[in-house]
């Protein structure tokens, strides 16, 4: 390849006068124009992400604290609304988000390792949370108690606790929210913010001791593997183990 071609590849055209300038240049050295091509401001991106989060808070609050909505059919309705919100926001910036749905680094060994970590983590969390609940609240209600007496209790439990959150929380928080925050802040801050927001959305300050590390792990997995799918399986296995331990 001629040397001139190589030199041209290391340069870019100015957005205003089209003069060739160095690739990392922030301003054109010929006309002085700023080279930022960011059209959407960071504040409006943040407001958009905040809308997604506020919708989630509102729906979770309704389903968890309003007595009228504590039925199976309402639970299904709210889960579908949460899923629709996650999918809607994700699809709205499809071009920027679709890359996280690829699974080019798929490996059975890795998947098995993530599932094994999830089972171990879930066991530790189940027993430590059980102990904390008895110590602090003098009772240990688990997910299973909400479905007790229902004909398909186990089936509903797996659907509402393991399947839906694993897919749509990953799509919403490690898919849409993390991807959006990466445009506004650096990687480290994006991971911390999305993990923290995910953890506090569970409305249990006592459970933050495991929810924050859990969310951080999922974020790091998503960033490291560049896909949400390992996170989906990890989350599913974690919640499924919790369901099984609760049902025993």
């Amino acid at each position: 390849m001629p040397i001139d071609d190589i030199e041209i590849q290391e340069k870019k055209s100015c957005v205003q006068c089209a003069a060739l300038i160095d690739l990392p240049a922030k301003f054109c050295s010929s006309c002085g124009a700023h080279q930022s091509t960011e059209v959407v401001t960071k504040l409006s991106t943040l407001i958009y992400a905040a809308t997604f989060y506020l919708i989630d808070i509102f729906i979770c609050c309704l389903s968890k604290y309003v007595e009228v909505f504590k039925t199976l059919s309402w639970s299904l309705f709210f889960d579908l609304v949460l899923a629709g919100t996650a999918v809607g926001f994700f699809i709205n910036n499809w071009a920027g988000n679709k890359s996280v749905l690829n699974w080019r680094s798929f490996s059975w060994q890795k998947l098995a390792a993530y599932c094994a970590i999830a089972i171990l983590g879930s066991l530790v969390v189940h027993y430590s949370v059980g102990w904390l609940n008895i110590t602090i609240y003098s009772s240990d209600d688990n997910y299973y108690s909400s479905f007790k007496g229902n004909l398909f209790a186990e089936l509903f439990l797996v659907f509402f606790i393991a399947v839906m959150p694993a897919i749509f929380e990953e799509l919403g928080y490690r898919g849409y929210l993390l991807q959006t925050l990466l445009k506004v802040v650096d990687r480290e801050q994006a991971i911390y913010i999305s993990s923290f927001l995910f953890a506090i959305l569970h409305f249990s300050f006592v459970s933050l001791f495991w929810l924050i590390p859990f969310a951080l792990f999922l974020c790091y997995t998503r960033i490291r593997e560049n896909t949400i799918w390992y996170g989906v399986f990890f989350h599913f296995t974690f919640n499924l183990t919790a369901c099984m331990l609760g049902a025993v």
Partner: protein, 181 residues
């Protein structure tokens, strides 16, 4: 255009505004946009604008500091609530259920306040969301707790943290636009 030589240090030509390295033949600094070969008037007005940006930076940093202090005040408030909760329920079996959430909130706001010195935007966003959820849960468990007095305090806290978030974004924008370290 009047040619004005820029700062020269051991053979390297440096920009007068941001001290980045300048290539010979450049009309503008490619790091900050300083008109290297511009007239004295162009150069002075560029430096004046840059000074204005630096003054804005100071104002925004003050707002961030105020928002950071709000996180500390919230921490003190929740620790205080935990102490009151402990002494008013110390003979009750649910004393831990009252005290532990307040302690967790107090510690979280303390950590966020401390960490806001290095990563202000992340801490302001997390602090704001945590405060909203804490107030929401407070309202759910005791709707009577929201009155005019607490409403004003909530409004002030939300405003302070919101301003902190906006200032943190503005600081980043100004630093990028003017290549200020």
């Amino acid at each position: 255009m009047e040619e004005v030589p820029s700062t020269k240090t051991s053979g390297l030509t440096l920009c007068d505004a941001c001290f980045a390295h300048i290539n010979e033949g450049d009309f503008y600094c490619n790091s900050c946009g300083y008109p290297i070969k511009g007239s004295k008037f162009e150069q002075n007005s560029f430096l004046a604008k840059r000074n204005d940006a630096e003054i804005d930076l100071i104002a925004f940093k003050k707002k961030i500091k105020k928002a950071g202090n709000t996180l500390f005040y919230l921490s003190i408030f929740f620790i205080f609530c935990a102490i009151i909760g402990f002494f008013s329920n110390k003979d009750q079996p649910e004393v831990l259920a009252v005290v532990v959430p307040f302690i967790v909130l107090g510690v979280l706001f303390l950590v966020l306040g401390d960490y806001s010195k290095t990563k202000p935007l992340a801490c302001m966003i997390c602090g704001l969301c945590l405060f909203i959820i804490a107030q929401l849960l407070d309202f759910v468990y005791d709707p009577g707790s929201i009155n005019w007095g607490s409403g004003v305090i909530i409004f002030i806290v939300l405003g302070s943290l919101g301003k902190g978030i906006k200032s943190a974004i503005d600081i980043e924008r100004i630093k990028k636009e003017h290549n200020i370290a």
